[in-house]
Every structure is written in structure tokens, then in C-alpha cells.
Subunit: 476 residues, 4 copies
Amino acid sequence: MIDLDKPRHECGVFGAYTPGEQAARVTFFALHALQHRGQESAGICSSDGRTAHIHKAMGLVSNVFNEENLAPLKGELAIGHTRYSTTGGAHLRNAQPYLIETLHGPLGVAHNGNLINAPQLRRDLLQRGIGLTSSSDSEVMTLMLAGAPGETMEQRITACMRQWRGAYSIVVLTPRAIYAARDPWGFRPLVWGRLPAAHDGDGAGGLAVASESCALSTIGATHEGEVHQGEIVRLDASGFHRTQAVAPERGALCTFEHIYFARPDSIWDGHVIHHVRQQLGVQLARESHVDADVVCGVPDSATPAAMGYSRESGVPISEVLIKNRYIGRTFIQPSDRLRKSGVRLKFNVLAENVQGKRVILIDDSIVRGNTSGPLVKMVREAGAREIHLRITCPPIAHPCYMGVDMATHDELIAHRMSVAQMRAHIGCDTLAFLSMEGMMRAIGRAGGYCNACFTGRYPLPLEDIPDKQVFEGVFG
Amino acid sequence: MIDLDKPRHECGVFGAYTPGEQAARVTFFALHALQHRGQESAGICSSDGRTAHIHKAMGLVSNVFNEENLAPLKGELAIGHTRYSTTGGAHLRNAQPYLIETLHGPLGVAHNGNLINAPQLRRDLLQRGIGLTSSSDSEVMTLMLAGAPGETMEQRITACMRQWRGAYSIVVLTPRAIYAARDPWGFRPLVWGRLPAAHDGDGAGGLAVASESCALSTIGATHEGEVHQGEIVRLDASGFHRTQAVAPERGALCTFEHIYFARPDSIWDGHVIHHVRQQLGVQLARESHVDADVVCGVPDSATPAAMGYSRESGVPISEVLIKNRYIGRTFIQPSDRLRKSGVRLKFNVLAENVQGKRVILIDDSIVRGNTSGPLVKMVREAGAREIHLRITCPPIAHPCYMGVDMATHDELIAHRMSVAQMRAHIGCDTLAFLSMEGMMRAIGRAGGYCNACFTGRYPLPLEDIPDKQVFEGVFG
Amino acid sequence: MIDLDKPRHECGVFGAYTPGEQAARVTFFALHALQHRGQESAGICSSDGRTAHIHKAMGLVSNVFNEENLAPLKGELAIGHTRYSTTGGAHLRNAQPYLIETLHGPLGVAHNGNLINAPQLRRDLLQRGIGLTSSSDSEVMTLMLAGAPGETMEQRITACMRQWRGAYSIVVLTPRAIYAARDPWGFRPLVWGRLPAAHDGDGAGGLAVASESCALSTIGATHEGEVHQGEIVRLDASGFHRTQAVAPERGALCTFEHIYFARPDSIWDGHVIHHVRQQLGVQLARESHVDADVVCGVPDSATPAAMGYSRESGVPISEVLIKNRYIGRTFIQPSDRLRKSGVRLKFNVLAENVQGKRVILIDDSIVRGNTSGPLVKMVREAGAREIHLRITCPPIAHPCYMGVDMATHDELIAHRMSVAQMRAHIGCDTLAFLSMEGMMRAIGRAGGYCNACFTGRYPLPLEDIPDKQVFEGVFG
Amino acid sequence: MIDLDKPRHECGVFGAYTPGEQAARVTFFALHALQHRGQESAGICSSDGRTAHIHKAMGLVSNVFNEENLAPLKGELAIGHTRYSTTGGAHLRNAQPYLIETLHGPLGVAHNGNLINAPQLRRDLLQRGIGLTSSSDSEVMTLMLAGAPGETMEQRITACMRQWRGAYSIVVLTPRAIYAARDPWGFRPLVWGRLPAAHDGDGAGGLAVASESCALSTIGATHEGEVHQGEIVRLDASGFHRTQAVAPERGALCTFEHIYFARPDSIWDGHVIHHVRQQLGVQLARESHVDADVVCGVPDSATPAAMGYSRESGVPISEVLIKNRYIGRTFIQPSDRLRKSGVRLKFNVLAENVQGKRVILIDDSIVRGNTSGPLVKMVREAGAREIHLRITCPPIAHPCYMGVDMATHDELIAHRMSVAQMRAHIGCDTLAFLSMEGMMRAIGRAGGYCNACFTGRYPLPLEDIPDKQVFEGVFG
């Protein structure tokens, strides 16, 4: 009953220098806006210039923090993290930020992404006689930073970036500055902005970095731009500083940020995500239109695409699937009868909007293919005459090794089946996916994105794919 | 930061007879579909024919129940409840269902509504030497049922209904049957349906009653119709039985079920709520249209109205406010700067959809008037040229005494201000409310509804208004 | 592994009027001294003259209360309760005090004891149309008090006492006074004392009642005397008032308060419990002495008896069994090997004190007979040459119906076996029980005590024995 | 109200190889017998030959573990830990065992003691670029082991032992063996024993190491002897192996294990602790006897000494102070009146045993001197004519740097006052401490013990005293 047919979100990271304000408090509110990127655990780590403070726990941001545990996180520097488990299981030991004492004082790290050479880096650390407490590649990165050569933190981060291969948008806390860095491919988003002064007339405003711009606007910060590929930025009392640490590679931002991950009010690459999603619908209408009476999106992520489709095709849009906003995680098993009839916990149909009608149903993706069938069946039982399923991206036929938990090759339905087979499996009248070209046109770019899950052409060679089992095995 | 400017939901009730299935399990899934009616506490009470079982706790349905506490709730009869605190504070002692032992065996009660003569009924019980453990009128009803005269349960419920004045949709569990009753005014909804047989080919299907039809469709039940005003129904092994216990009064279903409370996929009075809400938008367009570039609804409840408005007026609809789906309750205070700039925890604006535009913003109601202002300010700061606020109901100028926690007279902005004053207070360019006639036309009825919060004309005399303070005082 | 071979404690009750102090705070500290009478749940209910306040929960006093939940329990009147489950299972709904609203204002009740006519009284309440939320006889008593006839609270309590048959020491909270009452047989202890003034030089001191005098001395109160059989006392601003509500019956204080229940520093009937327990050992030495090298008691309750035995017999006392002070409740199952070898969680032996020696081992009682055997085996394996088990009371051959959870007839080893059989079963060299006369001599009285568990002669006829199953069945 | 005038316990460690049994289960029961050595946190780490498993949490052993979290701790090898915070605050991050992945596979470590050169070792690790997650010296030891040179684990432990200066009894888990090591001074105890075969007739028995022998007897293991100073032992399928890793220094076992820490049934240096404590009382009677009517010990640790004193002096022993067995931690503040009168939460007096009498009161130590005064006052108010306080060790005038949280110089009353001043401060009639010679005679040894807290002569130079503040500062 839990929807498993989505690429799993990764993580959200945030960091801020907030003169005159408690940085951890600002971070708390910012993390709310990154909650969609991870609901498993949340954490904040702060520095008051001398001492570092941390609190992290399993659960939503609003459950993890209260005045009692937020108040001690003193100082004008803080980083925060929301986590969706990727590598590393659902254990508190995998919750972020990581905080360690190092030769250079306390070091806090929050990471979004996945290193494909983590196994090798891990072995290197072990060879150096360093022990690891978790299976997380973020701990590997933290311990590498602790021991990296260099006079300045920028130099030390640079030294690590030369070794890290894969996706990372990382935020780092030190006693007197926040650093943020993005991998040279730019797999994961990372933006920055300015905070108004805490007290009127006092000129000193703050600075913030975040996975998405929605976290900036939530706390009243401007959206100044992106942290560039291969770049390190520093936020401290002397302002905002950029360093091109390593040369940028050919751009490879994850297309799925646009398709599904990012919040619709976030801005990336100059475009509001919501607008891009509308355009995905427009492109679908251009590519695979079919005569119909009504078009609707599977809420919430496909709703903008349905709007775009409607606008382009003239087919009226309508709400058809009602989403239950209050579904929590449940492990209660339904009875046999309920299972057979399909417990409509997550979605219900507005029958009057589909009765006797030809319906275009728009969804954002098909991963394993186990939820589209029940949805189509539900709409058909409500009286739809025809159901035409349209997907706002191409078929996902290859796993992601850059931090998105798509599924394995064998689990991906598009790896096992043709579109025709999928159509039959799902039970819709027609099924069409958006073309790669159409998708990129909607995004507004010809290149600069990673589409490996559609094409199998990975932006960097995969000689050393991380095998989750290996590390999990050590910590049972 | 918590949105307080909505009429507060009341409660959801459910009851089922499920031959061949665990009724409590069916109830668990049904309660998910009634979660929007109350998130404070949840409970299920079941009967296995001889013994009654109960579990209830503070929190969401999915948090309150697990296999360990659900499994012992045995039997083919169960009732359930989701609660939003009305009278009686947020204490476990107010959680429902109530379960007591009586002369006639165990008796479970789940109630949605509010009795306006509860203080008098309470005094009567005390006079009879009966003690009360809570300030809830539902406990008063339960204890009255325990001691009511009559040979049959129907007779005993009827005896109580003759004394109860006000709003009640009540579900009652006895060892061998579920009963449900609705007040003669029909303030609160109550529907019933049939369940398919638990095992193929076995003719004996089940029966269910629920506050809304969405709970029926969630568990695969049909929607057969309403429990009528003043009616008692019985669900047991011999089928579905109706008794007109007291004569129906002039119909007074709460209009706000259509405006705001009910889930859009629920059906009432022959209409899908979603459709009614679209029609509210259509009526608004007819009554108070203004030239504009874009129309949008405050998500989620006003979205269908915006669709209707757009269709009727031709003004294109657009998403403008993005709602954060993951906001939990937090008691963390923002810093002064955050407070001033307005923490955008709940909503954010899609600036590109409003920049330089004339915006029609549709909301479902204005109660205290403290959230419309910040919303309008947010949209204006995003660049809107004009903002025209349209409300899908008339001004709320009078408190509700039938179980909806609207606010007191003094708190209601429409009690203190004219529309022009409200417009200035909120800061929009124009403000218009739907007329009573327009609203009823959208609902599709000329009468049969309670509109006392708009008109001040209460369906029954208020000589003995419950004063919450009295009972709360006794249990500090 | 949990020691089940003790008569189970009942409950502790406390009440106080504390001018100038928060009565609930005083009660909190007093309940610590009654913790040995019940560790399942704890609760406090207070009155500030107008409003009653309550907090109760499962667990130890120190876990149940914190500043946050204690502070709101305002007022100079409070009652408290520690509970060991007797009738009624381990549910929060059985936790005490009970607090209800009545015709005469809030009414709080804390009860220690057991009514043997509870089933009949329960039926009477149900016949009056009154519902019951639990299977506890204390709720029956509370609801009877709510509806009792009489102008004054004393009259209403008296009316109930005329109906209550069995054991009760009850403490009652009303808006302006604390009442306490004791059954006419005096089964359970109840004492009272005076508190010094809260502020120096201010003449108004307080008053307190408690199950045991140790609760009085813990909070700095004097021990003025007992609440007499059939008496009601009132504690309020006008002082301490006694009323002989019903005529005293032949005295029947539970002997086991002296043998095992009461804390050694409590005083009852003019004697410190510790002294009485020493005398039990003196009597044992007089009745059943055997030549030995060392005498020791099973800690902690039999240690004073061992001292008395040693003093009387001249056999040197020694510590032999070391008790683990940190054993909490565990449900972890030992492995087969551990089970066989006997996990020594609760006791261990000081081998050097028994090696090659003839040991007199003194215990306070044998109920089911399942722990004496392993203890004897442990001491023998440590090298004891002879083990002579001596018990500080006669064989327990009959169940208790007055609130002590002894066991059923079939479970009582002394009901099934002769002393010779028991000796063989336990594996000691000799086994002797104290005679009834010896026990009463140690207590210092010829009569006035209930010895029904030894003799089968119950102080009042048992025509209507409460059958726990009946009520538990209703609330599964 | 919480007794703070005791040297604080350190930690308990345990390790076992249990062929045919779940080692973690055996460890669970063994840890119960080490609960007195630490109640802050508990943890178990196991190995099934390939994977390591861990569970640790704040709280008592019985609260930390349940079947659900114990069952996954698979394998025939396990180590366990009970912790009393010494260096490092009360945070979960300081809970033990530590478990890390290393070049040689998973490594678990449980430690009792304190390294005085931890700051230097810490700096060395940081210099090597290794980050630390806590302020605990046990983490320092763990990370040193991870990177230590050597082919075998014995070699790696030996390499570390050459660097570790201070007190350590350490237990180490590797995939296929348990190791244990003890510092060359032997500050902390460490014993080992054999377990009978899990299945009858199967010759392969297990092996165990523990801080105290009571943990061995609890699980049915023999007590074979001590792990010697500077020794490493290995427990695995090939049996028990000893290695003299570093040369033993002059013996320096902590005298306080005998005085106060160890459980009375534990055996050390050939003597049962209980017997030693009796002898401490005998020596006191020889050194500082005074004419009196009764002698009593402050329960529980001074009770055996009172027995010895009585036996030697002929003054009858009596119980005077009753200890409340159910005192949990409470942060509730007493009212002013209660504070003045002294809330008798922990102890109460048996007045009849002291009225008009000359009392010799024996306690095990005076650290800060803040609890002896109230105890003496309580006994005097109960009617004692004279009170003679006798202490079973010399005055503690110097802090411990080997892991016992005695207090700082300034806090130690014996550092600030003469015995005469202390007597006046406490308010007893006479005060005497046992002499160093008397104490050692009771222990049965002339040397081999650390008495630095009495003499100020530390067994190893203190050039680099750990300053807790430094590390705590980094992790606020």
C-alpha cells in the first residue's frame, strides 16, 4: 500500500552564516522546505566560534527538534540535513550531519549524493588505519576531510574533491566559516543567497546555501545563483567567497530534479520547476496526443504537466484522483478481501469526472510498474471509457549510481518490457513516454544533464560500482 | 505559523459489521479516509459477540495503531473515531470511542457533533448521582445511553434522542450489533453502504456507516445513501434496519461540509463535493468577476473553485501558491527577523506566475482574518500587479454552537468589520464574498442547510449555550 | 526469573492538607515511601478549592512525575496512590486516583483493599443505569460515592460504608477537604499525622493520612495514630475531625503487613515493624531450633528475623545471600543451558560463609513454593553441609479475598502438601513454620488480626466471591 | 536529595565465547551482575564470524534490551558494557561498546578505566588526520587499535598497550575471537572463567571475562582467576590463551573496589569482598573503639563492616537506617518546609533502636562530606544519646585520575579540613577513620594497591592530566 514506484528522494542540505541570529534556528525553518528531499532523519550542527553543537534524530524536522534541543545549538554558523536513506540503512548512525573533532577543530559535514568510488576510498581509509562507524559514504568523506593535506580548508576540500568521483553537494561547518562544494559534474543542485540584516539599519546581512532555492525563500533569503560545478564557496564574516577547486566536467545535473524531486517553487538553471513541469506536459501533447474528453495528472507532481497538456491540446483538465494528505507509514496488513478490492488509502477517484469519458492520465515516471496498474484499474472501474497513460519522461531502463534509489536492473519494468508489453501489463488503452528531445526541450537545454537512467550512458566510468551489501554486512 | 484561520474540523465516525473479516482492521483503513476530520486522537472499539475490546490514543491513525494493538481488537463488529478537539481539551480522557459496561453489556460510542443542551443533560446526570470523568458531551451521551429506558437498543437510543438537542451523528457498538443515529436536524453527515462478501461465493456481505462516503469507497464498500434526519439504523447479522426514531426537523446540514470540511471525493446530497466546490467558483465568477490575467485557489480546498471560476470566466487558471506537504506541528519560535519577513513554512509563491499580473485569488473562508493578509502580501511581493480576493462563501459573522470551532463573536473579523474594512485590513485590491443564494445554487439546494454562521439564524433556540469554561474548570 | 513466590503487595494511599505548601508536591515525596506497596502505576489528584487536577500514569513515582506535570496540580489538598494490580489488569484505566465530577463538585478517590461484594455492588450500579469504564472495585466505590445520599460528605461516605463489605482504606478528595475511611474490620492499615507549619512562626500546620507511618516521617509529619475501624476522618482548614461511621467489627488487620508488606520503619499497633520481624525470629528459635553453625535471612524482609533468631539462639548470624539491587523487569528468555544452571540474577551466595557449615535459612513465607527450592539448591552447591529452612509464619493454605494476591487454592503449595512433602519438594534438611501462637506473640497481640490465609476462617462470610474473570471478560 | 557523597562507580565490562549459545544473550544476563558498576548506559556487540551486530542505549540493562533488539545480535562471540559517566558526558555517543570497521574487519571495544595520557594520544590521532566523534578516551583506544601495527591482534593490542598510560581493563571483539587486556599496574579488576557446554555431553564449553567474578557466577561460569597485569588473553574456538604483552609494573589495584565498588559476592585477590568488608570493621574496632550500646552500618555497603565491628568489639549490631529500595532519579524540588525538615527519601531511622543509646555508625567513606551531617542529625533527632562515626578507610584527600570520579581537590572535605574540623562539621560526637595499615591488613596485603586518593602518591607520574573541559568544549 505504500507507493514504492517512485525514484526515492535523496537528501537536502543547508548551511548558513547568520550574524545577529541563531543560525540553528534559521536552519530549522529552512529544513522544513527541504523535507520533501528526505523524511528519515534530520539534524543540525552549529558553531559558536569555539564549540560545535549537534542534534540529530530519526523522524521529520518538526518531530526531531523542540526548543529544548534547539536552544543549545548556539552560534551564527550552522548546517542542516534531511535524509532519505540511499546507501546505508535506516539507522541513527547514518543520520547527518556528521560532527568530528579534527586537528583543525570541530568539523561538521552534510552531504547529498553518492560517490561511486566510495569502496576504494573506504579501503584507502582502512589501509591508513582509520576505523569507520557506518556504511555511509558521507562518513568516508568526513574522515577524508579530517585528514586531508592543506593549509586552508579550501585546500583540504580541494584535495578531497580530486579523489571523490560521483555526485556530491556538500556543506561543511568549521569553527568560523561554512563551506559548500559541488562535484565537477554538478549531479546535485546547490544554490546560495543572501539574508537581510537581523536588525534594521545594521548593515551586516547573512549568507546561505541550500539544495534548493525554496529553502532560501522560506527564510527570507534572496536566490543569488548556483554553486558551480567543481566549485567551493565559503560563507563567513568576511562575506561570500568562491574558489574553482577542480575543473568542471561536462554538466550532468540529474534530470529527475526537474521531473520529480525538486519542489515546484524551486528555481534551477533559470527556470521555475513548476514551469518546466508544465512544459513537459506541453511536449507530451505535441508528441503523443490522442483524442480525449479530459486530461488529469496523478497528484501532486504530475498536476503541472496536466495543465500544460491541457493548454497545448485543448482537452479540458480535471481533477480525477484525490490524494489522501494524511497517510502515514503503516505496517498493518489488510484482510484478503481488502487486498483484493484494493484499499484506496492513498488515492480515490472522482467518478463523476471520468464516467463515460476518454481520460488522459499523466504521471511523472514508471519505475517498477507496480502502481500504475492499480491506478488505471481504479479509474476504469469508476467508469472511464478509455485511459491513455502519458509519462513525462522516457522509459527508465537503467539504475542510478549517483545517489537516486531507482531500483536494480531487474526491478525496472522498462528494462524487462517493451512499451507495448508495459501497456498490456498496466492495462491502459495507450501508453506513451515523452521523448528525450521533448524532455530536454521542456527543461530548456540541449545538454548539461545526466540522462543515464534513460540511456545507460553514465557520465563517468563505472569500474567500481558500490555494492551496498558489502558494508551493510559488516554492520548487521 | 500554524494556520488558525479555518473553521476547525470536527470528528469522523465509522462503524462496520464485517462477517468473515476482522472489523477493527476494516475500521483502521476506513479511519484513514476520515483523518482529515480530526488528527488529535484516534480509536477503535470492537465486539466479538461477548467481549468488547478498545484501543485509543493521541495522534494520527497510522501512529496510534500497530499490529500489536490492532490484533486483540477481535470480532466482526467495530466502531472507530478520529477526533478534532471541540468541547473538552486535548486530553486522552476525551479521546473516543467511549466504552463502558452497562446493564445490557458493553457499550461503545463514537460521536460527531455538539449538544447545545449538554450542560442541562450533565446536571441531570449529576442529579441522578452519576459521576463524569470528562468535560465531553460525548461522555454525557454515553452515560445517558447506559441508563436509558427501553427494551431494545433502538428504544433506548430513541429515548435519548428525545432529550438530545443539537448536532450528533453517533455510532454505537453493542455485543451483537452496530447502531447509528443522526439528529433530527441532520447537522452532521452520516452515510451507509454495503461490503462485498469476505470470501468469494459466500453470500454474506457486510455493512458500514461513516461520516463521509470516501471512507466507504476506501474499503471497497458501496455508497447506498444517507442515514436520515432523526433516524436510527442497525447493522447486524440480519442485515440493515432503519427506524425513524424522532420526527425530522427542518433540515440543517452544515454548509461548511461542502465549503471546506468534507473530502472532495465524498458524495453528499447526490453531489460530489469536488463538483460543488467547482460550482462555488462558477457562482463567484458570475457574481463578482473582475478583469484579470490569472485565477488561482489557495490549496488545497479552494483549488476546485478556482477551476470553476476559470471555466466560467475564461481567465486562465494557474498554480500560484505552493503548499508544503510536510509541515508538522512545531512550537519553535522564529527569530525577530524571520518573524518580520514572514517564515514561508506553509506556502510559497510561484513568482513567475504572478509577476506583473492581475491575480484573482480564491479562498474558501475568512474566519479571524489573520492569514489572508500575509498571503496577499506574499503574492504582492512576488510581483502581482493587482490582487482580487474572492471567498467561496458569505462573511462568517456568528459563532457555531453545533460543534464547529469557528471562533467567538469577538474573534470573527466579519463580526467586527465591513467588507470594505476587511479589504483594507487584508490589503487586497478588491474583496468579494459569494452570496448566500450563489452558495446555495452551487450546492444545488434552496434549503435544508444550516447557515447560522452567516445569518445568525440558528436552527434551534439557544437558551442554554454550553460554556466550555464551566466543565474545563472542574477538570483543570 | 522474576520472583513470584511472594504475596503481592496491594496499594499505598496518601492524603494531605498542607496550608502554605503545594499539597501535590508533599504527596509526591510521600508516595516514594509507599512505593514498596505498588510499582505498577502512580497518581496524584489535587484541589485548589475550586478546580481539581490530576496526573497518573503507569510506572514508578519518580518516572510518572516531573516538574512539568506536577506544577499544574495546584492547591493545598491532594491525594495520591501507588498501585499493585489486584483485581483489574495492568491498564491505565485501572490507575488511581479516580477523579470524577459529581453533583457536589469534583471527587477524587484512592483505595487500598478489596470488596468481596463488589460484583453485587456493580450489578446495583448497572441496574441504576450507571456505566462502568473499568473492572476495578475502586471505580465501583467512586461511583457509589458520587450518588450516595446525605447532606455531608461524611453522611455520604457512611451510606456507602454500610454497603461495602471487605477491605478498604480509602482516601477521598473534595474541593475543600480530604476524607479518609477504614473498613470496620480494619483489614488494611491507615494512619494519620500532623505537619509542621510551612512558614516559621505561622501557627497553621497541615494534616496527613497514609497507609503507613513511613510516609509520614518521610515528609516530616508526626505519627499521631490510626484511623480506627469503621471510622471516617476529615482533614481541612478547621483541623482534624473523626466520625465513627459504622460500628467496628472484630479486628482483622492483615498479619502479612507485619510479616512482609510494611516497610520495616513503619509503626503499627504500637510496634515498629522491624522489631516485630526480629521477634518473629526469636519465636522461631524458641519453637524449632536446630543445632547449626550459622543463621541467615533471605534479604531483605527476613533479615530482621535472622537477627532475632541469632540473638535468641546464640547461633551467629551471617550474610549468605547477596541480592542484586538493580534487577528490573525483563522478558528476555535465558538459553537452555542458562535455564538449567539457574541464572543467578536475583541472588548469589557468599560461598565462604556456608562452606562445610550447617545453615539455618530464614524466609518470610512460602506461597507457591517455586523459589525456595532453587535457593536451597544454590546454598547447597556453595558447600553448605545442612540447610534448615525456617519460615516466619504458618503455612499459607488458603487464598486471600481481601486484596492480597496470594494465589489460588491449587497454586498454594501448603494446600496440596504436608510440611514433610514440602521439605522433600524444596530439598532442605529440615523445614519448620512458625506457629500461629508464636507469630501472634511476636506481633504482641492475641487477636485483632486476620489469619484466614493460614486458618481458612475468614472474618466475614464469602457468599459472593469476586470472580475477576467476569469483569475482565467485558473489557478484553 | 540524590546521594552525591560516594566515589562514582566506573564501568563494567564483559566478554564471552559461547559455543552453541547466543553469546549476546549470555552477555545480557552477565551485565545484570555488573549493573552496580554503571547505570547510565548499556550495550552489547556480537560477532557471528562474519558480521558484527550492536545495540546500545541510555538506561539500565533491563530497559535497554528486549527480545526484539537482542535477537539480531547473533553469534557465539559478544562483549558488553555498563557505563557510569567518567570523562565524557551523559550522551549516547559516549555509550559503549564502540564498534568500527577496520582493515581487519569489525572491531568492538568495551573499556573500564581512564588513560592519563589520553590528551596526548588524542593529539597524536588528530595529527594523523583521524577525526574523533566523542570526548571519550575509549574512542581514542578504539581508533588506536584500528590503526595499530602488527600481524596478529595480540601484536596490535601490545603496540597500543606500550602507549597507553593509566587504568584500563579492556575487552575486544573481532570476527573470530574475544580479547581482553589489563594495564600493567592492574588498576581495574578483570577475571575469567569457563562455561559448561551448552548441550549435555558436548565437550565444548565456553569462556568468559568480566570485571567481577559475580558476573561469572551469575551465568554459571567458573571463576578461574585474574587477567594479570600487562596481560592479553584470547578466547576463541581453540581455547584460552594468555600473552604477557608488557611487563607488569608495581601493582596498583584500586583499594576502593574492596571498600565500596565491587559487589560483596565478588572475589578478588583470593578474598570475597564481603569478608574483606567485615575485616574492615574488625580493624576499626581494634583501632578506634569507643564504649557504645549499639553498632550499625549505613546500608548497604557498610553493613558487613558493622558485622565485623560488632563481632570484634562485642557491641551488639542493630539495623538503624532503613534504605528506600525504590528511589529513582527525580528532579522535583521539595518545598522550603520539606527542604528544612529534610525529606527522608533515601533513608529513615528505626528510632526504637537508637533511643537513649550510644550509637556507633559505620560508613565506607567521606568524599565531599555533605551527606554524613544529615544522617547524623537524623539519628540524633531519633533519640541517640551519642553518635560515633567510623569510616572504613582513611580520609580521601586527593582526586583520582584513574577513572574514579572522586571529586576535585577543592571539593574533598578531607583536603580542606582536619579530622577534628570534619567532626564538628558533621556534628557527631567522635569521628575516626581507619588507618592505612588497618585497611591493608583487612584486605590481606601489604602492597599491590593504589592508595593515591589517601596518600597523594600516584603510581605513575601525572605530567599530562586529562582535562575534561578541553574535549567537552569541542562537543558542546
